[in-house]
Subunit: 486 residues, 2 copies
């Protein structure tokens, strides 16, 4: 009766124990299932299983330690209880670096120590489109610079989002009513497949658990259903190493939820996620209280039409956590101000955030004849910012220690780096034709003039030290990099 | 002994009574001179005269009332006392609209009722350059859109401003020392000529009485000299209808002056200016307290590298006075952030201020082989913003009532005008390809799509009413104007 027992599994990959069990009654409610996993070093993890329909039950586990693991199930039904087994966890290969964690307080890194620089994009409802479009999205992602995807569990109802999703999360239908006591396993299996697809592309899935743009009832489930849904989805998804939890998109627009609800949700998710994936909650207007201990990083929406990423260093001080500006507005040309900034402005916001020690996110909303706007449905990218975001990522990866922290700056040009070692200055929309640098004497620098829009790096001849002048192109979107000469 | 008695003078033109008097001693200190002018309707004005060197004494007066005026002098010396005379004040002709006053609380108008929309520029030290350059500046101004000039009484010492001025305000020299008790009349005569030149071009002279960028001592005169200078310059210049008083450029950088000093200066200037010219004081960092009753309008410097003109409506609420952002940064390419914004950004700031009911000012700092930067020395304009500023002025002049007040707006697009009559929306750096307008039903509008950069106005066919969609070019710097159809 036990199948799919993989006797070896890669570190941070997914081990799954699948069993046959009772179908009668409502297994979603009637049957409890969990398993105790014992690590090679003797640490135990209690993991919740789930009912996958048609008499199938599963327990999923992400081993974080190499070596021999063992497990034993426990269940309210004898058929699923007392199952024992073991498997070997072997070291990772290829692009598996493990889950992303907070590192150095304001930054991120994979569990294996590799720095992770979030270059996120947003396709809220991409998994709710037809299969061909989802596949097209994956091809676009494969060829693009992005390594994080904001996406909703539930389908989206909004301007440009009038189509019906292929799957729903509950049994039933809009016409006959939803049975909130019975999940639709096909819905979740599909979502999992897409999360695995992202994982295989090296993309983190920043999974939005609730959102307000709804015509089916997902935004107004009963508290009991909300909680059951969270226990169910954490049981299904926690073992995927690339999952991040986002309790909500625009929590403050979900008028049926209170702070007490969000706090209860946070407790459920963190209690049922034995791996402590990254978790946050995203605002529309007022910020959530990011000092809450369960919040691993800030997930911020623009606070102003004109000035948002420029607040990054202030927010670092305020919240003492990584600053991810998941929505700084979208490159596009739709009617609303949140969806019609230029590629230049998008890239500028990425750089303004980066040189202040934060991470800005992308989205795209160009009008499309079939209403396929990347920000929600995925598909193809049409804008000019993604390749420049890739260029920024490359510049950041070339920097020391895989992260960038702000340094005391002159009033008109932010800079970041490591004092007397590495500096990155960003001139934004200003167009200086030269700049005087006044560095501490005694350190020799190589000077690079970086055109962040044309994506060129010009390394100046010679070595610079102390006070010196650097000629610049006299156009916007220029950065200057000083690297200590060997 | 009395000369230059013009028996007729145009309203708001300058009447000057010139007399010969004692040269011995120090007439600047020893001789008092004033005159009482009696208006046709019986109002009297006490006006201070001044010593103009070489035994010449003058009293200048700007009559604001047409008809027969009379006057009588009084002096500490008998030779200048008791002179009586009269003159006829006739109505204005040509471009003489009188001095500019505050109108409708947040705006300006000439004394004859003509609206005045300040489109200011800045050439701090243009009157301290060689004559040929000054003449070139006047030619540039004649062909440009500007109707206000920020300029310093005293010469300027600063980056790109190393040359010596042709005149100094006091007798003496840098080498032998200045005699602060003796003004140099040639200095002031020259300044007056340039103010008159501006007047003849229809340009207001926003005259900066003190500033910190100094190597000769003007920024650190004794309090007695400061006060004497203010009494002297107000006696000489108040009768020029196009004079505005700006107590300082960057008052807060003049460390030798206190708030008490500025308040005393304000009292001296307003006490000695019988016409109540516009008066303000300009900051570098913290604002002066613009609620002070002597301040007629706010004269503001940018508060942020990124976001300044966008604060205009807030500042209107805070200060309840006209908002003039005299320095929003300068179009140019020098090293500092205050002097290297693009033409696009300059024009954007003008529009952002205008649609919030304020007035942004211009300046230009392009690197020049002979260090002739417009912002300080004048000369020629090299930037792309001036003609677009002229276009904005034309749009504003076409609007109703010669002024623009903000209206309640959607969060992403500021708008101004008169409800149900005239609306001007500005989309800034956003690039919508369309916009839905949701107007109160019942009013028919003509719709203009304005490209503020290309300086084009496209009037759409047909009449629009209620809720309607307008297609837009999908590029930055677009405005939409709705005008009630007749």
């Amino acid at each position: 009766m036990t199948s799919n027992i993989h006797t070896t599994v890669e570190q941070w990959d997914l081990f799954e124990l699948t069993m046959e069990g009772p179908q009668e009654g409502n297994p979603f409610l009637d049957v409890t299932l969990e398993a105790l996993f014992l690590s090679p070093s003797g640490t135990s993890f209690c993991v919740r299983g789930f009912y996958d329909g048609e008499g199938r039950y599963s327990v999923r586990f992400m081993p974080e330690e190499t070596g021999e693991w063992s497990y034993r199930t426990d269940s309210s039904t004898a058929a699923l209880s007392g199952r024992e087994g073991h498997f070997t966890c072997k070291p990772t290969t290829g692009n598996n670096h493990g889950p992303v964690r907070v590192r150095h307080q304001f930054h991120f890194g994979y569990a294996d120590g590799t720095p992770y620089l979030p270059m996120g994009t947003t396709c809220y409802a991409w998994t709710h489109q037809d299969e061909a479009l989802q596949e097209e999205t994956l091809v676009t992602l494969k060829n693009g610079p992005f390594n994080k995807m904001r996406m909703c569990v539930f389908p989206k109802s909004y301007q440009y989002n009038e189509n019906e999703p292929p799957y729903h999360a509950f049994e039933g239908s809009q016409e006959t009513g939803w049975d909130e006591r019975r999940f639709n396993p096909a819905f979740f299996r599909h979502l999992e497949q897409r999360i695995a697809d992202l994982r295989d592309l090296g993309i983190e899935a920043d999974l939005i658990l609730f959102h307000p743009y709804d015509r089916w009832g997902y935004a107004k489930l009963s508290p009991e259903t909300d909680d059951r849904y969270l226990r169910y989805i954490t049981a299904r998804l926690s073992a995927y190493r690339n999952v991040w939890w986002s309790l909500a998109n625009e929590y403050d627009l979900m008028k049926s939820k209170t702070t007490e609800d969000w706090e209860r949700f946070a407790t459920i998710v963190t209690d049922h996620d034995p791996y402590s994936h990254l978790i946050s909650i995203h605002n529309c207007g007022p910020f959530y209280d990011y000092t809450r201990p369960w919040i691993t990083h800030c997930s911020i929406q623009r606070v102003d039409v004109y000035r948002t990423a420029e607040n990054t260093n202030q927010w670092r001080q305020d919240w003492q956590k990584p600053i991810v500006i998941d929505e700084c507005a979208y490159e596009g040309n739709i009617d609303w101000g949140w969806g019609n900034i230029t590629g230049q402005e998008m890239v500028r916001r990425f750089w303004e955030g980066a040189v202040r020690g934060g991470y800005v996110g992308h989205g795209e909303t160009y009008v499309h004849p079939e209403e396929i706007l990347w920000w929600s449905k995925g598909g193809q990218l049409h804008g000019s910012s993604p390749q420049r975001i890739g260029f920024l990522k490359q510049i950041l990866e070339e920097g020391p220690e895989g992260r960038l922290d702000p340094l005391p700056s002159e009033w008109d040009v932010p800079r970041a780096g490591i004092a007397n070692h590495y500096y990155l200055y960003y001139f934004g929309f200003n167009q200086p034709s030269y700049r005087h640098f006044r560095m501490d004497p005694g350190t020799n620098y190589q000077v690079d003039v970086i055109d962040t829009w044309e994506m060129t790096v010009q390394t100046l001849e010679g070595i610079y030290e102390g006070a010196f002048r650097v000629d610049l192109p006299g156009k916007p979107y220029i950065a200057v990099r000083l690297r200590k000469a060997e």
